[in-house]
Symmetry: C2
Subunit: 347 residues, 2 copies
């Protein structure tokens, strides 16, 4: 059980532990949530857990409205956004009411973008339920929608009132979702190093999942507090992402994020070994870790095609990319790579 306070332009707590939903009063009591709560969740979550959450919210005297979306990235689109905003308006949700995102990354990001933009921003509570969303969505306030086939083409940074990572939800997490989150954990093993890396390498990491998630949140908190506006340091959190995004785009999202990220991390480890001082021993440890979990590392598209896709990404800044590289396990850094040096960089 941990409470980690993220102190940026708006401070908020991330609570991590078991049975948080059953003690909702403890975590929400000091927040001014208004009268109504809109619970945004997915069909699968609704069947499994949302009744319990609804009852707890009602016990706090809140009127609960529910809005269901399909599972997966496909729901982060403009018509779902438009429908949810309509739902908020028709439900007479006011500026003092609250939206709760309850589910995986797509639920959290869609609900967060609605909360950020409805009447120029209303209360938002984030309850990530998948391993990947507990890791990737608990700190940093990223919201986003996919548009015209481009991942997160629109979005804003928007901070929740509070984040609840209730580890009980992991008990019903499908195996495929564990795999997705696991690759994010591997990324943090490389970023954080030490014990964290060893646990993933040697043991049944699920036994230590509480500690691992706490460590990730604490680590991200430090980075985001230094670089809230995502200008430099925060880019190390994107380790492998530049490659993963291009692979996802090329596969028209048929390759899920976790699998694409594994390929991206593999590539970045190789580049780091070739030209960023990563020692052979650490390089091998990283590859061993990826292989231990049977992740496919070979690229499903030619390198040329992937690099061309990266170049065409308009999430580009000053005609160069800020790419996270690995100096050693537990020590990563950001390097600025001009677009026209990208080919040689990745060869």
């Amino acid at each position: 059980m941990a409470r980690i306070t993220v102190k940026i332009s708006k401070s908020y707590n991330v609570h991590i532990g078991h049975s948080l939903i059953k003690s909702l009063r403890v975590y929400l009591s000091n927040l001014n949530l208004g009268k109504k709560v809109v619970l945004v969740t997915s069909h699968s979550l609704n069947n499994l857990h949302s009744n319990k959450l609804e009852k707890e919210l009602e016990a706090l005297g809140l009127e609960v409205k529910k809005y269901l979306i399909s599972d997966g990235d496909i729901s982060k689109n403009i018509s779902e956004y438009f429908n949810l905003i309509n739902f908020l308006s028709n439900s007479k949700i006011t500026k003092s009411d609250t939206i709760i995102g309850f589910g995986g990354s797509s639920v959290i990001e869609l609900a967060g973008f609605c909360a950020a933009t409805y009447h120029r921003g209303i209360n938002f509570i984030s309850i990530p339920t998948s391993l990947a969303s507990m890791i990737e969505n608990s700190v940093g306030g990223k919201t986003g929608l996919n548009l015209v086939g481009i991942k997160d083409l629109i979005g804003v940074y928007f901070y929740p009132l509070v984040v609840l990572c209730d580890l009980d939800f992991l008990e019903t997490l499908p195996e495929e979702e564990w795999e997705n989150g696991l690759v994010s954990l591997i990324k943090y093993a490389i970023l954080i190093g030490d014990d964290f890396f060893d646990i993933l390498m040697q043991d049944d990491y699920k036994k230590y999942i509480d500690k691992l998630i706490e460590d990730v949140v604490a680590y991200k908190r430090e980075i985001v507090e230094i670089d809230e506006n995502n200008l430099w340091e925060s880019h190390i959190l994107d380790l492998g992402n530049i490659f993963a995004k291009a692979i996802m785009t090329l596969s028209e999202n048929s390759i899920p994020y976790g699998k694409a990220l594994a390929m991206g991390i593999n590539k970045i480890a190789y580049v780091s070994y070739k030209s960023a001082g990563l020692q052979k021993r650490d390089y091998n440890k990283i590859i061993n870790l990826l292989e231990k979990y049977n992740l496919r590392l070979s690229l499903p598209f030619s390198l040329n095609l992937i690099v061309d896709t990266i170049k065409n990404d308009n999430n580009i800044y000053n005609n160069s990319f800020d790419i996270a590289l690995i100096n050693k396990i537990g020590r990563c850094f950001v390097e600025k790579v001009p677009v026209d040096r990208l080919d040689e960089f990745f060869v």
Copy 2:
């Protein structure tokens, strides 16, 4: 010629003067605008002025793409937003490029919302060309879209890199647009008082328009620096707005903002005289000022209907409204009025 620096979470300058567009280099030289600029403007502005602006931007070495929208509030809708985002993506606009909103309020707010949300925020420059937009859009970072008939149902606060109020544009402003802006000036005459009020009352205000706009921007700057998050003090800037919005909604936007605002100010002056300490002498001065400009003050809908519309507004906070009232000319304040006291409050 004035430069007013707004110091909030993000500082930016508002330049007010003549022929600013001709000296674009002076105002943009220290800003990192990237390679491409998307100029968002309206058909009427395009015919009148945008060639000149385009040439000046190209002279600075920028590649200019242009996106035209229809004049008026009708363009602040979700499909126009979607189209503009698509245009940005197809034009390969990156995170380091720039959007310029060049026109009236609707252009500024649509362009601003796109800049705020495209890739979680890119550079934005605001060049308001109408009197109303120089007054209402130069300070505070409000962006918004209308949805399902509700004004500004979605939006965010987003700050430009710089605001250029080039007073030359007022020379070609249609008479109807002068009227719209004039009512906003009357609002500031009540808020600021003194000279400002006297100029509007006694003279041809157009002779003093430079000073009046500078005074408004300086005044708003002070308020917004105290209350960037629009929690309390900033609500005095909404003097008359609560009524004006309801009238606009009831008329399905056939009554323009300026005319609706005049009715709202008249009503607030009356309520202030009845119950907020506004002296008869000041009350009469306000009514005289409104009448001097032949503004229709009587309500086009029953008071009951308007109050019901206000109550149904979900831009409500903690079940009450923060309503700006007038204690005397030059001294306004905010009062919290519970929803269930609204009927008696407005009688």
